[in-house]
């Protein structure tokens, strides 16, 4: 279960450049040299176990920031977040991949960055290699991979740790059609095990197919929360 009550997220943005280094030194810790900019304001949201929620909204409306907050990367400026269960964020696919290293080394590295122990990684390794369908290519340096192969590797790593809560930021359309279907099946499998999924996508059909609830975010606040069709209508009207 996920519960956000009265959550604000503000970024501290440094605007004045080096000139203000003196001000900065004088005001250390008070943040007065940083300008506060609200990205999300007054967010109240409750998501229950097993729900699949689509987040809709224009570019820059705060969807990714919300996912980052749920995954613990951003600490909210105000408000309370209550999350029960393990969270797996699929945010930037392929972030952290090191092109000079081979597939196996990259699996170890990325899993470690996600906080897994050596033993957990060892247990997941065969599953990741199999799901990626890379075969012998797991022993190649990643710089020799095609774009599709790189995405398959990255997705397989991200998806293998069956989480309670899965956060997906526009990463389902990787690889060829065969692999895309496989990814969707995997997400559906995770969902059928009772996991909660929060899904950001600009492909409305995808949201329609997978989600049973949608939330529209506009200019940093929740504008509408309801069925996918209802919210979708409103979402499309934003662009008219």
């Amino acid at each position: 279960m996920i519960k956000l009550s009265d959550v604000d997220i503000a970024f501290h943005i440094q605007e004045n450049g080096f000139v203000s280094l003196k001000d900065f030194a004088l005001n250390l810790g008070k943040h007065s040299f940083l300008k506060k900019k609200y990205i999300l304001k007054d967010i109240d949201l409750e998501i229950y176990e097993g729900e699949c929620v689509g987040l809709l909204g224009k570019n820059g409306s705060g969807k990714s920031t919300l996912l980052r907050t749920l995954s613990g990367i951003i600490i909210p400026t105000k408000g309370k977040i209550d999350i029960r269960g393990s969270v797996a964020p699929l945010l930037g696919l392929g972030v952290g991949l090191e092109k000079e290293l081979n597939g196996i080394e990259n699996i170890k590295l990325l899993c470690a960055l996600m906080g897994m122990t050596k033993k957990e990684i060892k247990d997941l390794m065969p599953g990741i290699i199999e799901f990626s369908e890379l075969g012998d290519a797991v022993n190649w340096q990643v710089k020799r991979y095609s774009t599709g192969m790189t995405s398959r590797l990255a997705f397989s790593i991200a998806i293998m740790k069956n989480p309670d809560i899965l956060l997906i930021d526009e990463v389902l359309s990787v690889g060829d059609i065969g692999f895309q279907r496989k990814c969707q099946r995997k997400v559906e499998e995770i969902m059928s095990n009772g996991a909660t999924v929060i899904f950001v996508s600009h492909a409305f059909e995808e949201v329609q197919r997978m989600c049973n609830r949608a939330v529209l975010i506009n200019e940093g606040s929740i504008q509408l929360d309801g069925t996918v069709d209802e919210v979708g209508k409103h979402y499309h009207s934003l662009f008219d």
Partner: protein
């Protein structure tokens, strides 16, 4: 958050994995690998020997100049390179910082760890060369281990302080790369401190790097354990710098995502 994650197995594995990655990538495409980190001080040693050895010998006749300068150079390279790596670690790993839930303090730790690995790997060829420069192996070499630990705490603190500020003011990085060569001459690395006129001696002692290099000279050139006084100053500097760096990092980390 940062303190609890240090005891966390997953966090430790992330730090070690990042450090191993750095080393693997650095030497993956080079033939002589680790020997590169030896080549730079050796090249410098030749030049410095030609230019400075007469001066140095003049002020201290018992000085084994090549041994003195080379040991200083190797550890100066370690200190200056690792400060820069820790300093840029937040920015270099910006993408990871934005999309993986990993305490950002992992990045300075990993950079420091990679630098320590690198130093110890270069130790084998280093000791062989020192042998040819008449280095007398003594128990004092054991002091290298606590020395590297204390120095690393100092470097991590200083690097974290500068690195955190660098997220907001990229000028810090440029300022530091400009200052480092100046510190190379300001610190008695390749010349004995006695070469400095009496009236400027106090200037040397306000330079924190002086103490860290002096300890190296004591260990390798004099074959002695670093003096009690020097050790206390190093420990004080290390603890002070680390606390300051950690404090500034904790205060300013929440702005990292929007400023990287």
């Amino acid at each position: 958050m940062s303190l609890t994650s240090i005891t966390n197995k997953g966090f430790t594995n992330a730090v070690v994995s990042l450090a191993v990655k750095t080393l693997k990538v650095r030497y993956k495409n080079s033939l002589i690998g680790i020997f590169w980190s030896m080549l730079n001080p050796l090249l410098f040693l030749v030049i410095l020997y030609i230019v400075f050895s007469q001066f140095a010998k003049g002020s201290d006749a018992s000085l084994n100049y090549p041994l003195y300068a080379l040991s200083g150079l190797i550890f100066w390279n370690f200190i200056s390179a690792s400060i820069l790596q820790v300093l840029t670690s937040f920015i270099d790993n910006g993408d990871i910082l934005k999309s993986v839930n990993l305490d950002p303090i992992a990045f300075p730790f990993a950079s420091m760890l990679a630098a320590i690995f690198n130093l110890f790997l270069s130790f084998i060829p280093f000791l062989a060369i020192l042998y040819f420069l008449d280095y007398q192996l003594s128990w004092s070499i054991l002091a290298v281990i606590p020395y590297v630990l204390i120095t690393s705490v100092f470097v991590t603190g200083l690097g974290m302080l500068l690195g955190t500020l660098n997220v907001y003011f990229r000028d810090i990085q440029l300022l530091w790369t400009t200052l480092m060569p100046a510190f190379f001459y300001f610190t008695p690395i390749a010349y004995p401190p006695s070469l400095i006129p009496e009236k400027f001696q106090w200037l040397i002692k306000i330079n924190p790097f002086y103490f860290f290099i002096d300890a190296v000279h004591q260990i390798f050139h004099d074959g002695e354990f670093p003096s009690m006084e020097n050790s206390m100053v190093m420990i004080g500097l290390a603890v002070g710098c680390y606390l300051l760096g950690y404090f500034v990092f904790m205060r300013l980390r929440k702005g990292f995502i929007s400023n990287i």
